[in-house]
């Protein structure tokens, strides 16, 4: 057995090491966390101002939740790769870890960020926007959970692309939107079902679509990541 061979245990260790590295550096600067948080607060405030005293239908509000989450995610999730380019640490990372370990480490980091973002967004949204009611909470929770996985998966690979393209912010939502549209339409539909109080079985089709979307995006990202990552 050569020293460079990758056993599953070693692979997992390097994934976790990369995740922890990102997590610690994030806690030092709190750049992504504060960007995400402020973005969510700002957007919800704008929605409140524009709604004024008039309410909107539960359908519209269910969809609007994902507008907040989509643009919130777009404001912070590219950070993990852009940071490496800015600090000039990409080369070091290329040398010390296999590309796939870097990908899964970053994916894990983004997943934690998105989950946190979604929890905060949902709490604020439900707290401040009165017309927003969820009649079937389990369906809603599964939607948020699967939606977070899908967002993290698609956002991570697109973040890697834009970090290499040196374009930073503007291109991120442009490139992400077409890729995320199947996901967005499905989660919006599922949220609407949850808000109408539909049974779990009725939303099962949506969940199947979400799961297959996540699998497809993670597999294709894993296969292509090496081309993006290595020069």
């Amino acid at each position: 057995m050569s020293a460079t061979e990758m056993t599953p245990a070693r692979f997992l260790r390097s994934v976790i090491a990369i995740f922890l590295k990102d997590w610690r550096s994030e806690l030092r600067t709190r750049y992504a966390i504060s960007a995400l948080l402020m973005f969510v607060v700002t957007t919800i405030a704008i929605i409140l101002f524009s709604l004024g005293s008039e309410g909107a239908s539960a359908d519209a509000l269910a969809g609007m939740l994902w507008v907040v989450i989509f643009f919130g995610a777009m404001s912070g999730l590219s950070r993990t790769f852009v940071m490496e380019e800015e600090r000039g640490t990409t080369l070091t990372l290329q040398l010390i870890a296999p590309a796939s370990a870097v990908f899964f480490g970053k994916l894990l980091f983004n997943l934690v960020l998105v989950l946190g973002l979604n929890i905060v967004t949902v709490l604020l949204y439900a707290g401040f926007i009165t017309g927003f009611v969820i009649r079937n909470v389990p369906v809603f929770l599964v939607t948020i959970l699967l939606g977070s996985f899908g967002f993290a998966a698609a956002a991570t690979v697109i973040a890697a692309i834009i970090a290499r393209a040196n374009t930073r912010g503007t291109l991120y939502p442009v490139l992400s939107f077409p890729i995320m549209l199947p996901l967005l339409l499905t989660v919006i539909n599922a949220t609407r079902l949850a808000s109408e109080g539909a049974f779990f079985q009725e939303a099962a089709g949506e969940f199947q679509i979400l799961i297959s979307y996540i699998v497809v995006v993670v597999v294709i990202s894993y296969m292509l990541f090496e081309y993006i990552w290595k020069d």
Partner: protein, 232 residues
């Protein structure tokens, strides 16, 4: 040269037949097209609109195949081909969207209804738009080629859901959608008389040849341009 003549003959034939052949409720002669209730003369668009939509998908797949080829072999020509196919696909995609919207205005009463097929073509437009924004954002040629190839493959893997699956399983206004009294399925299945079929498939072949011809022209032009820039 032969392809140009063949193309000219086929397309002229399709235009004359598609626009010129009369429609009648009970077709007697070979050139009379049957009237489809609810569509009437508006059915003629099928000879032009469907081939453009078909080409925007063919171009998309061509672009993806050359992108895979590029990532494997790293030869600049494959990237040139990939982007040339995408450029043509974008053009045909815009044509399909516009012709579809005009037809929808007369048949459904408004230009845009978010019918599943309209959603799919909109996604395709967005993907093409994003692809070219990405290309224009990267200056270094090899990096641009690699990133664009990767993006085109990711988009090709996530979008079949829209282009092929969703229009079939969702009920929609579009002829051939689920819930259409004439029967669901690809558009060609729905009550087309033999002579319409001949025109339709001739049109598909002619448009595909048109795509091939334009594609080779663009690749040649891009090659010359690359050669010129490298100072050769």
């Amino acid at each position: 040269m032969a392809i140009k003549i063949l193309l000219g003959v086929l397309l002229t034939g399709v235009v004359i037949a598609g626009f010129g052949f009369p429609m009648s409720a009970a077709p007697q002669t070979w050139y009379e097209l049957p009237v489809i209730p609810g569509l009437e003369d508006k059915a003629r668009i099928i000879f032009f609109h469907v081939p453009t939509a078909w080409l925007s998908v063919v171009a998309f797949i061509t672009s993806m195949l050359y992108a895979i080829q590029y990532l494997r072999k790293r030869e600049a020509i494959d990237d040139i081909k990939s982007s040339a196919a995408a450029g043509l696909g974008f053009m045909f995609c815009i044509l399909a969207t516009l012709t579809g919207a005009v037809w929808a205005k007369f048949n459904w009463g408004s230009y845009w209804n978010w019918d599943p097929r309209e959603t799919s073509i909109f996604v395709l437009l967005l993907i093409y738009g994003a692809y070219f924004s990405l290309r224009s954002a990267v200056e270094v040629e090899e990096k641009r080629a690699t990133l664009a190839s990767v993006y085109s493959i990711i988009a090709a893997v996530t979008s079949p859901f829209f282009i092929f699956i969703m229009p079939r399983i969702m009920t929609g206004l579009h002829p051939g959608a689920k819930g259409d009294p004439e029967g669901a399925g690809p558009v060609i299945e729905f009550k087309m008389s033999p002579n319409m079929r001949v025109i339709f498939f001739t049109s598909l072949i002619a448009f595909t040849l048109l795509f091939y011809w334009m594609f080779t022209l663009r690749v040649r032009a891009a090659r010359l341009e690359a050669h010129h820039h490298s100072g050769g």
